[in-house]
C-alpha cells in the first residue's frame, strides 16, 4: 500500500495523483489518510521517485468535476477521485457517469456538495452588529456538512455589495472586508465569538413574518423537513418556532388558514363609502 496525506487540499492531492498516474500505480494500491491518522499506516510499497513515463491527457472538465467532488467530506474522499481519474485516463469515460457504479457515487457526491452550497446561500442568517463598531457589519454562524464555504460564499459578494460580512463555522471561516474575501482554513476563535455572541434586538420582525405566512390549514411537516433538514434548525431563528407551529396547527384542527393571533383581534367590515383610512 502507498499511503498519502494531502491535508484535504485539492491541489496537493492533484500533484500526488499526477505523480501516481505517471507511474501507472493501480488505485487498489493507494490510499489517502483520513485527517490526523496519517502516521498510522506506513507505506509498505516501494515508492518510485520523480515523474514516471505514463503521460495521461486529463481534460480540464474532468479536473473541475474532481475538484467539485473533492469538497465532499466522507470516506475514501480522495481515493475515489483517484480511481475515477485512473479509469478516465485509461479511456473509460463511464467512470464519470451516473449509470456506472463508481460514476454514480461520484455524481452523488457532486450533488451533495452543490446542495450544501445551496444550503449556505439559503440558510445563512446575517445579524447586524452595532453600527459604530469596526470590523464586520454582518455576522453569521453556519455549520456546513461539506467543504463548500470558501467557494460558495462568493455568492454573498454580489449580494451584499460593499458591506463587510463574516461567516464563521466550526472549521473554516470567511471575512469580506468590503474589497476582498479572506478565507481562513481554521476559523479564528475571535471570528467564532463574533458570530455566536451577537445581539439581535430586531429579530422579532422576521419571526412574526414566518409565523404568519404559514398556512396551518395546509400543514405538511414531512415536505418541509425534506427541504429544510432538521440539522439546520438550531442555527435558524425560526427553527425554534417550527415545533410549536406544527402543534398549534394540529390542535386547531386545520380548519382555515388564519393564524390564531389574527382571529382574536377586532375585525373591520368595509362599507363602500369612506374606506380611505389607513390601519
Amino acid at each position: 500500500m502507498i499511503n498519502l496525506d494531502c491535508d484535504d487540499l485539492f491541489d496537493t492531492w492533484r500533484q500526488q495523483a499526477r505523480w501516481l498516474l505517471s507511474h501507472e500505480i493501480d488505485p487498489s494500491l493507494v490510499s489517502w489518510a483520513a485527517e490526523g491518522v496519517g502516521d498510522l499506516f506506513a507505506s509498505d510499497h516501494p515508492v518510485p521517485e520523480g515523474q514516471g513515463p505514463f503521460q495521461a491527457r486529463i481534460p480540464r472538465a474532468l479536473l473541475d468535476t474532481l475538484e467539485n467532488a473533492a469538497r465532499y467530506r466522507g470516506d475514501q474522499r480522495w481515493s475515489l477521485l483517484y480511481e475515477v481519474l485512473w479509469r478516465v485516463s485509461h479511456g473509460d469515460r463511464t467512470a464519470m457517469m451516473a449509470g456506472d457504479k463508481l460514476g454514480s457515487e461520484l455524481q452523488r457526491r457532486i450533488k451533495q456538495v452543490s446542495r450544501e452550497a445551496h444550503h449556505l446561500h439559503a440558510f445563512v442568517r446575517f445579524i447586524e452588529r452595532p453600527k459604530a463598531l469596526p470590523g464586520p457589519q454582518y455576522v453569521a454562524w453556519h455549520e456546513p456538512a461539506h467543504d463548500i464555504l470558501h467557494s460558495a460564499s462568493e455568492h454573498f459578494i454580489g449580494r451584499m455589495g460593499r458591506h463587510r460580512w463574516l461567516i464563521a463555522t466550526p472549521r473554516d471561516g470567511v471575512y469580506y472586508d468590503g474589497e476582498q474575501l479572506i478565507h481562513e482554513r481554521r476559523c479564528p476563535p475571535e471570528w467564532q465569538q463574533l458570530a455566536q455572541n451577537v445581539d439581535d434586538p430586531h429579530g422579532d420582525l422576521w419571526l412574526t413574518y414566518y409565523s404568519h405566512i404559514f398556512n396551518p390549514a395546509r400543514l405538511n411537516p414531512k415536505v418541509m423537513q425534506g427541504h429544510l433538514p432538521v440539522r439546520f434548525w438550531k442555527n435558524l431563528p425560526e427553527g425554534e418556532l417550527i415545533p410549536q407551529l406544527i402543534t398549534q396547527a394540529r390542535m386547531g384542527k386545520q380548519q382555515d388558514g388564519q393564524a390564531s393571533g389574527i382571529s382574536t383581534r377586532a375585525g373591520k367590515r368595509i362599507a363602500l363609502k369612506g374606506v380611505e383610512r389607513s390601519g
Partner: protein, 406 residues
C-alpha cells in the same frame, strides 16, 4: 399601529397566493457598488414553513383594505378581519431588513383595491421605484398587477419589477361573475396582453430598458367552484400559448374564517392541486398537450400521476427500448424524468444500457419497469392489462386518522 402588528396582519392576508418564486431574473450584482442585492436566474428558498411551502420572497399586501367582495377571499370587504395598511417606506424598510439578514431574496407585493385600480397600482409601483432608485436594490421584485389599472402604470411596473402577475382567480367567466362580481375576464386578459406586449417590445433590443425580465405568471383557485381539471388545464394551455406565461399557479381553495355560503366550507384535497401541478409540468416541459392528458371533461386521477395515466392509456407505445428510443419518448416513460433521460442518452453513447444502470439512476423503478426494455431485460408485465398495472401501481394513501371530535 406598530410596524410589527401591520406585518402580522398583512402577511396573514397574503398567504393565500401560492407563488413565491424568485427565479428567472437576469444576472445582477452589487459587487463593488453601493446599494444591495443580486440575482442570477436561480431562485433561492430561504426557509420553509411547516406547510411545506418555500419562503423565497417577503410576500405581503400593501393593505388588506379592499373595495371588492370576492367570495373566496379573506380580505373581501364584507369579511370581518383586522385591517392594516403599510406606507411604501415601511415596505421598503422591511424588504431591506429581511434581505440583509439573508431571509429573503426580494419582495412579492400585492394589495387590496383601495380608492381605485389606478391609485392602488400607483402605490405598488411607488414601492418598487423606491427600492430600485433610492436604495439601489438589485434583488428580486414581483408586483401583482391590478387588472383595471392604466396600461402606462403597468408599463412603469414592468421597468422596476422582475415579474408581474395578474391573477385569473377562477377558471371560468361564469364563476368569476358569481364569486368575484367586481372582476371580469376581459380586463384580466387585457392586463396580461399589456404585459405580453411590453415583453415583446424589448425582446430583441439589448439596449432597451428591461421589461419584467422574469416574465408574467398567474394564479387560479381550485375547488372554490365546480370547474373540472380538464377545463383548468385547457385554460392553462391557452394562457401559455397566448401570453407566453412563465407559470400558472394552482391554489387549492383554502377555507377562510367566516366563510360566505357561496364557497365550500372544506378544502379540496391537496392531492388535486398536486396533480394539476404535475400535469402543468408535463405541458410546459415534456411537450404533452392538454388533450393528451384529459380528452373529455373530467378530473385527473388522484391515485396515479398524469404521466402514468397517459402511459396506461397508450400501451401501444411501450415497452420502449432504452438503447434505441428517441429521447422525447424516453421522457414519457413513467418514473423516468428529464434528467434521467439525459443521463441514459449520455450513457448509451458509451455502451449498451443494462437494467442495473437504470436501477442506479434514481428513477422510480417500480413505475418504469413494465415500460422499458434494456439489453438484458424485457418486461414480463408487457402483456399485463393496463387495468391490472393500474391496480399494482396506484398510490394507496396511508389511512388517515379521524379527528378526535369527528
Amino acid at each position: 399601529m406598530q410596524i410589527i402588528d401591520k406585518l402580522s396582519i398583512l402577511a396573514d392576508a397574503a398567504k393565500y397566493d401560492a407563488s413565491c418564486a424568485s427565479s428567472g431574473a437576469p444576472k445582477r450584482s452589487s459587487e463593488g457598488k453601493s446599494g444591495l442585492g443580486s440575482t442570477d436566474g436561480m431562485g433561492i428558498c430561504h426557509s420553509y414553513t411547516p406547510d411545506g411551502r418555500c419562503v423565497s420572497l417577503l410576500k405581503i399586501l400593501l393593505t388588506n383594505f379592499c373595495l371588492y367582495d370576492c367570495q373566496y377571499c379573506v380580505n373581501r370587504r364584507s369579511s370581518d378581519v383586522p385591517r392594516a395598511r403599510f406606507t411604501p417606506e415601511e415596505v421598503v424598510t422591511l424588504t431591506l431588513d429581511f434581505y440583509r439578514r439573508n431571509c429573503v431574496s426580494g419582495l412579492f407585493l400585492s394589495s387590496g383595491i383601495i380608492r381605485s385600480a389606478d391609485y392602488t397600482m400607483e402605490q405598488l409601483v411607488r414601492v418598487a421605484k423606491l427600492l430600485r432608485k433610492e436604495h439601489e436594490f438589485r434583488g428580486y421584485i414581483h408586483l401583482k398587477t391590478i387588472p383595471d389599472a392604466d396600461p402606462a402604470l403597468i408599463a412603469e411596473a414592468g421597468r422596476y419589477a422582475d415579474r408581474l402577475s395578474v391573477n385569473i382567480e377562477l377558471p371560468t367567466d361564469a364563476s368569476l361573475q358569481t364569486l368575484a362580481p367586481e372582476k371580469n375576464i376581459g380586463s384580466i386578459k387585457q392586463a396580461m396582453q399589456t404585459i405580453y406586449t411590453g415583453e415583446q417590445t424589448v425582446l430583441n433590443e439589448p439596449r432597451a430598458p428591461k421589461f419584467a425580465p422574469a416574465g408574467q405568471s398567474t394564479q387560479l383557485i381550485v375547488g372554490a367552484d365546480d370547474t373540472d381539471d380538464s377545463t383548468i388545464l385547457h385554460g392553462a394551455q391557452a394562457l401559455y400559448g397566448n401570453f407566453r406565461l412563465r407559470r400558472v399557479y394552482y391554489s387549492a381553495f383554502s377555507p377562510i374564517p367566516d366563510s360566505p355560503k357561496s364557497v365550500p366550507l372544506a378544502a379540496p384535497p391537496l392531492m388535486r392541486e398536486h396533480r394539476l401541478y404535475q400535469a402543468d409540468f408535463l405541458l410546459r416541459r415534456y411537450g404533452y398537450s392538454a388533450d393528451e392528458l384529459l380528452k373529455g371533461p373530467g378530473n385527473l386521477a388522484l391515485d396515479i400521476d398524469p404521466k402514468l395515466a397517459w402511459a396506461l392509456q397508450n400501451r401501444e407505445v411501450f415497452p420502449l427500448d432504452l438503447n434505441r428510443a428517441e429521447a422525447s419518448l424516453i421522457a414519457r416513460i413513467p418514473g423516468i424524468g428529464l434528467r434521467t433521460t439525459e443521463r441514459l442518452v449520455e450513457l448509451r453513447r458509451q455502451r449498451r444500457i443494462r437494467y442495473e444502470d437504470v436501477a442506479r439512476m434514481r428513477c422510480v423503478l417500480a413505475k418504469a419497469k413494465p415500460f422499458i426494455i434494456t439489453s438484458d431485460y424485457h418486461p414480463q408485465q408487457a402483456e399485463v392489462t393496463s387495468h391490472l398495472l393500474y391496480q399494482q401501481l396506484r398510490d394507496r394513501p396511508a389511512p388517515q386518522q379521524m379527528g378526535l371530535w369527528g
